[in-house]
């Protein structure tokens, strides 16, 4: 398969870009400066639903578009480009992905159409510490009559403060760090014992910290097999990482484009600063890095879509993409602020917002070092 977008994928990219580009970064600024209680636009989310974007990977029987990882990445890239806060990654990719993969017919009917319509929001409550460690799960679910009782604390739950359902990863056997023994539970955030604290982040996107204090759920809250969430979690996390990598490329490339414009128009010492060869070479290097990162991300997304691909192969491709996209996007925003000079430091200019967003995307689902480590470990050294 050619490592370029198909015509259909290109059209999807233009549609997403067109929609988000209408308001552009203004949307983020408005939500932030108005201190919006949700921190994201429910109207936009419904439009996502209408356009088939919210349910991009949900099968058509449940109201979705039935498309693949490449298409999800295309949308994620547009979100990164315009810095638009949305529940796409947490709900459409991670949340819906798990239900598509593991859900019972009832669970699918209950949640997927709502997500696809842009009405319902799911959130995955997985992380417990400050760094991505999907197997380091201490939260526990213990049998309690016909159901379970959950205890523990979760952090960095993307858009967890507005979720209609939480998918909580909890340990049902084994000990912290084991790959086995983790189960997933669909938890109503209104259940007694659930305490949710919104954490506004540096990039004006939101996550939540969640305390689970003797939270009682019924047996049908279990998503997938008892103790057996591991493989599905790995799959959906790789999907999420691929999308986060696409967002990083979107954000990095846009910061670069803003910088190119600035280089062409801003004058100093009587010349456009883009005439200075030292800046030209740095810009050319950055362009190259962005193209390399773009290839790595598309390669990973295509690998995820390949039927019957071995999980280890997909994981390796995703590790390359997330590490490379993260490193390059970081370089892009640093160069963007530096080349803008003083105005780049002001809140008035957009480049600083890209720097903030890239920082958060880099921490999302494993940073550069995490994925370098993953590659080395996977290759046995």
């Amino acid at each position: 398969m050619a490592l370029i977008l198909t015509d259909e994928q290109q059209m999807l990219a233009e549609a997403a870009d067109g929609l988000l580009g209408e308001e552009g970064v203004g949307a983020l600024r408005r939500l932030r400066d108005d201190r919006d209680p949700d921190g994201l636009s429910r109207d936009l989310w419904r439009t996502f639903g209408e356009m088939g974007l919210a349910g991009v990977m949900i099968d058509e029987a449940h109201g979705g578009s039935g498309l693949g990882a490449v298409e999800a990445g295309v949308i994620a890239e547009a979100l990164g480009k315009h810095l638009t806060p949305s529940p796409f990654l947490g709900s459409s990719v991670l949340g819906a992905g798990l239900i598509v993969d593991l859900g019972s017919a009832e669970q699918k009917d209950r949640w997927l159409p709502g997500v696809a319509e842009g009405e319902a929001i799911l959130a995955l409550a997985l992380e417990e510490g400050g760094r991505h460690a999907p197997h380091r799960i201490a939260a526990r679910a213990e049998r309690d009559g016909n159901g379970f009782r959950l205890n523990g604390s979760k952090a960095f739950v993307l858009d967890g403060h507005v979720a209609d359902a939480l998918i909580v990863a909890a340990r049902t056997s084994g000990k912290v760090g084991d790959r086995e023994g983790v189960s997933l539970f669909l938890v109503d955030p209104g259940t007694a014992g659930v305490a949710i604290e919104r954490t506004a982040m540096v990039d004006a996107h939101n996550a939540a910290r969640i305390m689970l204090d003797d939270v009682r759920v019924d047996a049908d809250a279990l998503l997938g097999e008892l103790d057996g969430a591991g493989p599905a979690l790995d799959r959906v996390l790789d999907l999420g990482r691929g999308c986060a990598a696409a967002s990083l490329v979107g954000a990095g490339a846009q910061a670069f484009d803003l910088t190119l414009d600035y280089l062409r128009t801003r004058t100093q010492f009587g010349r456009a600063i883009g005439e200075f060869q030292a800046l030209q070479h740095r810009a050319a290097h950055l362009f190259t890095e962005l193209e390399i990162a773009r290839a790595a991300v598309l390669g990973a997304l295509q690998t995820l879509d390949r039927p019957g691909v071995a999980p280890a192969q997909a994981a390796r491709a995703v590790a390359v993409a997330k590490a490379k996209a993260g490193q390059v996007a970081e370089l892009a925003v640093q160069e963007a602020v530096q080349m803008h000079g003083g105005v780049g430091m002001t809140d008035e200019f957009d480049v600083g917002l890209y720097m903030k967003r890239v920082r958060v995307l880099n921490e999302t689902l494993g940073d550069v070092g995490h994925h370098q480590e993953a590659l080395a470990t996977a290759d046995g050294w």
Binding site: E127, G129, G130, R131, H132, A155, F156, T199, A200, M201, V202, D203, A204, A207, Q268, F269, F276, A278, L279, E330, Q334, V337, Q338, G341, G342, G344, M345, T346, D347, E348, G352, L353, M355, K356, R359, V360, E363, D367, V368, G369, H370, Q372, E373
Partner: protein, 394 residues
């Protein structure tokens, strides 16, 4: 050696008696800083006492002559004082653009009257200064300076706008570049003047940065009267004063590369993230990046010291300050990138008590200005290429 050791003993004894417990240990936040000035605020009475005691000995400006309120110390004595202050983790008795930047320029270019008038209050922390260099459209390129001073006999009338004036809204006086000859080309025709920020016609407006509220201001001059007695250096040759002062500013900004007195980032990260069985920070890739940075930081500290020693020996090219400014500011940016990586998701929070209102993230963002303020890294590299390497066309 023995005279120095006697001095060390004296310093140590004096500090034991005079440095309050409240000003020892790492600084917790901005409000630990003692800036002095007419409207000085102090976190505790002990902070005020610390400034007064150090100011009285002239140790707020250790190497200035005693007649101008300084400590009159030799460079070696000043090193001893600094090392004794570090030993007890004493916080600085004064943060002051007057001490760091204006003072050295006045010592070199000021008239005797100006030195007598301005230096002692600076050393005692009584007058707080700000700097008026940059203008919109004239950042790194000061040749484009627009603020105009029109000659009125014994004074000028100044009109124009400055930008990136740190703490303009809290400063008592400003040292400022103004154009006194609009016909002269480029850097000629600029003069270096001092005036009170309380003069009618001066107003300020804070700038919001990506890190949030900032000490930077836009500063506006609307028919501001400036006494000609407050011209420093020769008329229309303010660029000479400014260059000299910029070298001090560069060294000062570069010095942030030395990092805080506190513990190495590697230790902080290992405590936060955890260690593996052999005691290593349990994130090998991050650990490698931090190790590289810590090596650079230690080497940079030595380079700062060496450059100071070379200067004292009369063997330092002035452009070496560009080297320190460039390296120190890039290093500090790198340190904070790594601190953010070590902090992980926790360091991303922007509000609330747990993160002290996003202190880590705001500090990180703030460092991005290091390689812009006081002359961008690119400008420093140009200066090095031209003045130290003498490359053609530089």
């Amino acid at each position: 050696m023995s005279e120095l050791e006697d001095f060390r003993a004296e310093v140590r004894a004096w500090l034991a008696d005079n440095c309050p417990a409240e000003v020892r240990g790492p600084m917790a936040g901005e409000d630990d800083r003692i800036w002095g000035g007419r409207n000085a605020t102090f976190k505790t009475p002990a902070h005020r006492l610390w400034l007064e005691r150090m100011g009285a000995r002239g140790w707020t400006a250790p190497e200035w002559p005693t007649e101008y309120g300084g400590g009159g110390l030799s460079r070696d004595q000043a090193k001893v004082l600094a090392s004794e202050l570090r030993r007890i983790e004493a916080q600085p008795p004064l943060f002051s653009f007057g001490v760091w930047m204006l003072g050295p320029a006045l010592l070199k270019f000021g008239t005797e009257a100006q030195k007598q008038t301005f230096l002692p209050p600076i050393a005692r922390g009584e007058i707080r200064w700000c700097q008026g260099y940059s203008e919109p459209g004239a950042g790194s390129d000061l040749a484009g300076l627009q603020t105009r001073a029109v000659d009125q006999g014994d004074h000028w009338i100044v009109n124009g706008q400055k930008v990136w004036t740190s703490y303009a809204d809290q400063a008592d006086w400003i040292f400022c570049l103004v154009r006194t000859d609009p016909e002269a080309p480029k850097h000629l025709g600029i003069s270096f003047v001092l005036f009170d920020m309380a003069t009618p016609g001066v107003s300020t407006k804070p700038i919001t940065l990506i890190s949030g509220k900032s000490p930077f201001c836009e500063t506006f001059f609307d028919d501001v009267r400036v006494d000609k007695a407050n011209l420093v250096g020769a008329l229309n040759r303010g660029w000479d004063v400014a260059k000299y002062l910029l070298a001090h500013e560069r060294t000062m900004i570069g010095a942030i590369g030395e990092g805080d007195v506190g513990r190495p980032l590697g230790q902080i990260a290992a405590d936060a993230i955890g260690r593996d069985a052999s005691g290593r920070l349990d994130q090998p890739m991050l650990r490698a990046r931090i190790a590289e940075m810590e090596i650079d930081a230690e080497a940079f500290r030595l380079a700062m010291e060496r450059t100071g020693d070379l200067a004292k020996a009369g063997r330092a090219h002035p452009a070496l300050s560009s080297m320190l400014k460039y390296y120190g500011s890039e290093l500090n940016k790198c340190r904070h990138e790594l601190a953010m990586a070590a902090g992980g998701a926790d360091a991303l929070e922007w509000e609330g008590e747990r993160s002290r209102n996003g202190q880590a993230a705001r500090d990180w963002l703030r460092t991005k200005a290091n390689s812009i303020e006081g002359g961008t890294s690119e400008i420093q590299l140009n200066i090095i290429a031209k003045h130290l390497l003498r490359l053609p066309g530089a």
